[in-house]
Amino acid sequence: MEHIELFFKSIFIDNLIFATFLGMCSYLAVSKKVTTAIGLGSAVIFVLAVTVPLNWLLDQYILQEGALAWLGPEFAEYDLSFLSFILFIATIATMVQLVEIVVEKFSPALYNSLGIFLPLIAVNCAILGGSLFMQSREIPTFGLALTYGVGSGIGWFLAILAIAAIREKIKYSNVPPALRGLGITFIITGLMAIGFMSFGGMLTGGDEEVKETPKTEVVKVITEDEKAQELKKINTEQHRNKELAKNTKEIKE
């Protein structure tokens, strides 16, 4: 259940492109044709699925505060988390290189379709971003890290596939000259992101939580509109109470 939830959350709600804008550069550059978009998208899924769990292991056993405890008690106090950027990017760069070599050796057909995209991916924000979000969201287990990697990869794949399909069609429509190409792509992506925001309520869970949400909204409305008035009321009441207290004191005296 945990896995399914994280899987769908990373595809739809925390979609790398529409929620956090990661990997926008290659998203905009390689989305002119559906076939190339599919190639790059599957390469991203693949690399994310490899690097996120790998970086999870690094984070868990080398980088975090106290992670080096397995080396012996004298290492338990080390906190190497400031090294995470350099270690993550080095892992990603080497893994991409390694994957390229292995794929070229064992599956030339796959290499022909994915190969040209692999070097591009080493510097794709989505890959490093996936690892950094994995670290900052403190994903607890190796399996969940794998799920997260695959899920965010699929989310990215869906996004680039959709925009490539739209861009192939939009060539034939009458867009204002200044908006052609880049401009309209940005605006369409914005509209798609608004669409994806509606997935936000997807994982609210059982009936209890659904019942809870409207309540909080009501409370918010009250606080926004009548905060000032309430504050004034409370203030005046406190004043009255003080005055009353004084009065009673005076009477007693």
Binding site: L28, Y172, I184, I187
Partner: protein, 222 residues
């Protein structure tokens, strides 16, 4: 321009408008969109990129004859990652709250395409001083767009600039709020960043016709 020759000045001025890294070269979009909900964050981000790109370009340019071309990407990544770690630690020490809002996006300067792009296209082939100017110019061009987006998103979204309530207080109903003005909370959400960039590109390209993209398959083809 006593200090700079004409050619050097072009290195700084070109990326500001006609060859802007974000709107024309389409590099470094990722961070430009995610952190621009507040003006302060966009200014800090621009300064960080200015530092990393300026210094990084000089380092790469100094080493350009020593780097074997096969492993140059890894060398470049290591240089950027080191500089970004410095920025990250400085931010954590002197602006902790802000480094929390920027969260992973400081780390993502490493994969900011502007930086790798400038290393590849310029620093590997030019002398340190020119590379430095090129780095500063491109980082400024990036910063200008970031600050424009941040300005509009914060002003229209929460009615503040750098945290100051320039439009009056929405709760006390002072300033423009007295006339029934409401903040557009939608500007704070991520999709609007994309649309604001789209509009900036639109304005820039309609002012300068040379920048139009020749993607004219045209509706008459059907």
């Amino acid at each position: 321009m006593g200090l700079l020759s004409k050619k050097d000045a072009r290195l700084i001025l070109d990326p500001l408008a006609d060859n802007n890294p974000i709107t024309i070269q389409v590099l470094g979009i990722c961070s430009a969109l995610a952190i621009t909900a507040e003006l302060e964050a966009s200014i800090v981000m621009s300064i960080s990129v200015l530092f990393v790109l300026g210094v990084g370009n000089v380092i790469i340019s100094l080493m350009r004859n020593m780097i074997p071309s096969k492993i140059r990407i890894i060398v470049q990544l290591i240089v950027v990652a080191t500089l970004v770690i410095i920025v990250d630690l400085v931010l954590k020490a002197y602006a902790y709250e802000l480094s929390k809002t920027l969260s992973v996006f400081v780390g993502l300067i490493i994969t900011n395409c502007i930086i790798m792009g400038r290393f590849e296209a310029f620093a590997l082939a030019n002398k340190p001083w020119q590379s430095f100017l090129d780095g500063i110019g491109n980082a400024l061009g990036y910063g200008v767009i970031l600050i424009i987006i941040g300005f509009f998103r914060e002003l229209l979204g929460s009615g503040t600039l750098l945290g100051f309530k320039v439009l009056g207080d929405p709760i006390e109903k002072t300033g423009v709020y007295a006339f029934g003005y409401e903040n557009n909370g939608f500007m704070l959400l991520s999709p609007m960043a994309l649309i604001v960039v789209g509009i900036i590109i639109w304005i820039q390209r309609s002012r300068n016709k040379d920048l139009l993209e020749e993607e004219l398959v045209g509706h008459c083809d059907i």
